[in-house]
C-alpha cells in the first residue's frame, strides 16, 4: 500500500524540514526553560551538597540562613559541639557582595568559614586551581565565573584580598557565583561598623557592636545517633531553630525558588501551547494547499481513513522532527546562558510525550478539513 504521507513529505522535503526546524526552535526554548528550572534546583543544592552537614542551627523563629536572615553568637558553635551526638560543628556567615573588577562590579555570594574549623565548605572536586583558605585573613577563593585569576588583588571593605584558589560550578541558590573568605574577615565585612558609625553610636550612648556573630552553626551527627532526636534536643535546650539537611533543602528548593519555578512553569506551558497552535496552523495550511488533491482522492474512491492517516502521520512526523531539532538547538546554545541550565533526559522524554499529544491534537484541524472536503470540488477546474 502506498504511504501517502511519506510520498508527500518526500515531495516537499525541504519545506517540511525547514518548517519542522522552525517549530523545533520553539521546542528548544521550552527545553531551555525547563533546563533553567533544573539549573535553579541544582544551584540551590550545590552549597548544601558541598557542605554535607546534618544540621543547620539558626536564630530562633527564623528560616535562616538563606530563606530569612539569622544572627547567632559565634560561641554557639562550641555549645553545639558538646551536645551529645554531635560529631563536628562550625560557624558560617553568608552575604552578598559586589567585588570590583576591571569589567565592572561582580555580584557574588560570600561564604565565611573558619579555615581551621571542623567543616570545610569547599568541595575538593570543585577546586580547579590553587588551594583552600589557609590563613585567617585577606585570602579569598573565587569561582571561575567571576573571571578573577590566582593572585589577583581584590579591594574589599577596609582590606585587600588575594585570590588563592579557584573553584568551578559553585553558585548560590540565587545563581550568584560563590566566593569563600575566612570567618573572621566575613564577620568584619558583615558585622563590623565603620569608624564613623562607631563614633556616632558612642555619641548616642550605644555600646560598640559585637562582631563575633555568625549566621548559622552547622553540625554533623555521630553515627548511631538519630538526627531528628539531636535536632529536637537543640531546639528544646538551646532555643534555636534547627533544620535537618533535608528540611534545609526543602526550604531552598520548595520555598525559595517556588515563585521562580512557577514563573518558568507558566512560560513553559505557554510555549508548548504556542507550539501546538503553530503546528496546527502549519498542518491546516498544508491541508488547505492539498484540498484539490484531497477532493480528487475522495472522488476516485480513496477512503477517508487513508487520507486522515496521511494528515496524522505528517503532523506526528512534524512534531518528532521539531522535537529532534529542538533538542539539537537546545544542546547547542544552553552553555551560552549566564545561569546554569541543566538538560535532563527525563525532561526531554516528557516533552516528547507532550509534543506527540500536541501533534495529534493539532492534526485534528487538518483532519476536520479533510472530512469536510467535497469530492465534487475536484470537477470544474
Amino acid at each position: 500500500m502506498i504511504n501517502l504521507a511519506q510520498k508527500e513529505i518526500a515531495h516537499t522535503f525541504g519545506k517540511f524540514i525547514v518548517t519542522a526546524m522552525g517549530v523545533g526552535m520553539l521546542l528548544g526554548i521550552v527545553l531551555i526553560m525547563i533546563g533553567v528550572y533544573r539549573g535553579m534546583l541544582v544551584d540551590a543544592q550545590a552549597l548544601l551538597d558541598d557542605m554535607d552537614v546534618d544540621l543547620w542551627i539558626v536564630q530562633e523563629n527564623t528560616l535562616g540562613p538563606f530563606a530569612e536572615s539569622s544572627r547567632i553568637h559565634e560561641d554557639m558553635r562550641d555549645t553545639i559541639k558538646v551536645i551529645d551526638g554531635i560529631k563536628e560543628s562550625a560557624g558560617f556567615t553568608f552575604q552578598n557582595l559586589q567585588l570590583p573588577s576591571k569589567s565592572g562590579a561582580v555580584r557574588v555570594f560570600a561564604v565565611g568559614y573558619d579555615p581551621y574549623g571542623d567543616i570545610n565548605p569547599i568541595n575538593p572536586k570543585r577546586l580547579i586551581a590553587g588551594r583552600v583558605l589557609q590563613r585567617d585573613h585577606y585570602e579569598m577563593v573565587v569561582t571561575d565565573k567571576t573571571a578573577f585569576q590566582l593572585n589577583d588583588k581584590i579591594p574589599l571593605g577596609r582590606d585587600i584580598y588575594t585570590v588563592v584558589g579557584i573553584t568551578h560550578g559553585t553558585v548560590s541558590s540565587g545563581g550568584d557565583p560563590l566566593v569563600y573568605v575566612s570567618l573572621k574577615d566575613a564577620q568584619e565585612l558583615q558585622f563590623l561598623y565603620s569608624n564613623a558609625r562607631t563614633r556616632n553610636d558612642r555619641a548616642r550612648g550605644i555600646a560598640s557592636t559585637n562582631s563575633h556573630m555568625i549566621n548559622t552553626v552547622v553540625a554533623r551527627v555521630r553515627s548511631g545517633y538519630d538526627i531528628d532526636s539531636v535536632a529536637n534536643d537543640i531546639r528544646r535546650f538551646k532555643h534555636k531553630a534547627v533544620f535537618t539537611a533535608t528540611q534545609e533543602k526543602t526550604l531552598l528548593t520548595k520555598n525559595l525558588i517556588k515563585m521562580a519555578s512557577k514563573q518558568i512553569g507558566m512560560f513553559t506551558v505557554i510555549l508548548v501551547l504556542v507550539s501546538t497552535i503553530i503546528i496546527a496552523l502549519i498542518i491546516y495550511t498544508m491541508t488547505l494547499e492539498k484540498m484539490k488533491e484531497i477532493a480528487i482522492m475522495k472522488l476516485i474512491g480513496i477512503p477517508n481513513s487513508m487520507i486522515v492517516k496521511m494528515i496524522v502521520q505528517e503532523t506526528l512526523l512534524m512534531g518528532v522532527l521539531a522535537f529532534i531539532s529542538g533538542n539539537i538547538f537546545a544542546h547547542l546554545i544552553y552553555t551560552k546562558f549566564p545561569k546554569r541550565v541543566v538538560l535532563e533526559a527525563p525532561d526531554a522524554f516528557m516533552l516528547f510525550i507532550v509534543v506527540v499529544l500536541a501533534s495529534i491534537l493539532a492534526s485534528f484541524v487538518g483532519v476536520k478539513k479533510v472530512l469536510s472536503a467535497d469530492p465534487a470540488e475536484a470537477i470544474g477546474g
Partner: protein, 237 residues
C-alpha cells in the same frame, strides 16, 4: 447477454427548497451500453456535470433510479453506504485537467486505486505498466507529473481511470484544454478504450467537432435527457 452498463430512470435533481427550489434534472432516463462512447452535451449550467456526478455516486439525486452494471445503486436513496467503494471499484474518472496527485509518480498515481482495492503491489504495477505502455508513456512510469507534458499527463490520467478495470468511465470535458489535434487523439483513444476494455464511457463535451467520433449523443433538453444520433463526420476529422 446483457450489454447494459448504465441505466438511469426518472432521475430528478433539485437544489434548494420552497421558493428557492431549482430544478436541474427532471425525469432523465437513458442507458449506456458496454463498449459505447457517449457524448453528453448541453448549454452551460444545464446540469451536465451534476448528471455526471449523480451517475458517479458523488452527488445524491433527489429521486429516481440508477443501475451500474447489474447493481441497482440508487432508488430514491443510496442503496449502499459505500458509494466511495462503488466509485473505487466500478468507475473511472477523467477530468478536464489531468489532476494527477502531484506528490506521487505516474506509476503510483495509476496504482493508487487498485492497491486501495486490495490488489497486490506487484499485480497492480504490472497492469499499470501495461496501461502506460498502451498509452506510450511506459518510460515515464517513475517520473513525477510535474516533469511531463500536458498530453502525457492526460494520458497518465486516463491510465489511472482504467487501472481499477472499471465498468464505466465518466469523462468531464477531457478535451477542453487541448488543441484540436490533441482533442481528436484523446477522443479516438477513449473510443478505442471503450471497445478494447468493453467499458461504457460518458464524455461531457462542449466541442461539437468531437461528436462524430462518438457512438451516440445524450443531450439535456428541458431538464430531460434525449438520445440522438451522431452527426456525419466533419471535414476536419
Amino acid at each position: 447477454m446483457n450489454r447494459q452498463s448504465i441505466k438511469v430512470e426518472n432521475l430528478v435533481k433539485n437544489f434548494g427548497k420552497g421558493d428557492s427550489l431549482v430544478e436541474v434534472i427532471n425525469g432523465a432516463s437513458f442507458e449506456v451500453n458496454k463498449g459505447e462512447l457517449v457524448a453528453l452535451i448541453a448549454p452551460s449550467g444545464a446540469g451536465k456535470t451534476t448528471l455526471l456526478m449523480m451517475i458517479g455516486c458523488v452527488e445524491e439525486p433527489t429521486s429516481g433510479t440508477i443501475w451500474l452494471g447489474d447493481e441497482k445503486v440508487y432508488e430514491n436513496r443510496w442503496l449502499t453506504k459505500e458509494t466511495r467503494k462503488i466509485r473505487r471499484e466500478k468507475i473511472g474518472f477523467i477530468f478536464q485537467a489531468h489532476y494527477l496527485i502531484p506528490f506521487l509518480n505516474i506509476l503510483e498515481n495509476v496504482t493508487l486505486v487498485p492497491q486501495t482495492n486490495g490488489v497486490s503491489k506487484k499485480e497492480s504495477e504490472a497492469f499499470a505498466r501495461e496501461l502506460l505502455d498502451y498509452f506510450d508513456i511506459e518510460d515515464k512510469a517513475e517520473s513525477m507529473p510535474s516533469s511531463l507534458s500536458g498530453g502525457q499527463n492526460q494520458r497518465a490520467a486516463i491510465a489511472r481511470a482504467l487501472a481499477n478495470k472499471p465498468q464505466i468511465i465518466l469523462a468531464d470535458e477531457p478535451t477542453a484544454a487541448l488543441d484540436l489535434k490533441r482533442s481528436v487523439d484523446v477522443v479516438k483513444m477513449l473510443k478505442k478504450i471503450a471497445l478494447d476494455q468493453d467499458v461504457a464511457i460518458i464524455m461531457v463535451t462542449h466541442d461539437e467537432a468531437m461528436l462524430p467520433l462518438c457512438d451516440r449523443i445524450l443531450k439535456i433538453e428541458n431538464k430531460k435527457v434525449v438520445s440522438t444520433e451522431v452527426p456525419k463526420k466533419s471535414h476536419i476529422l
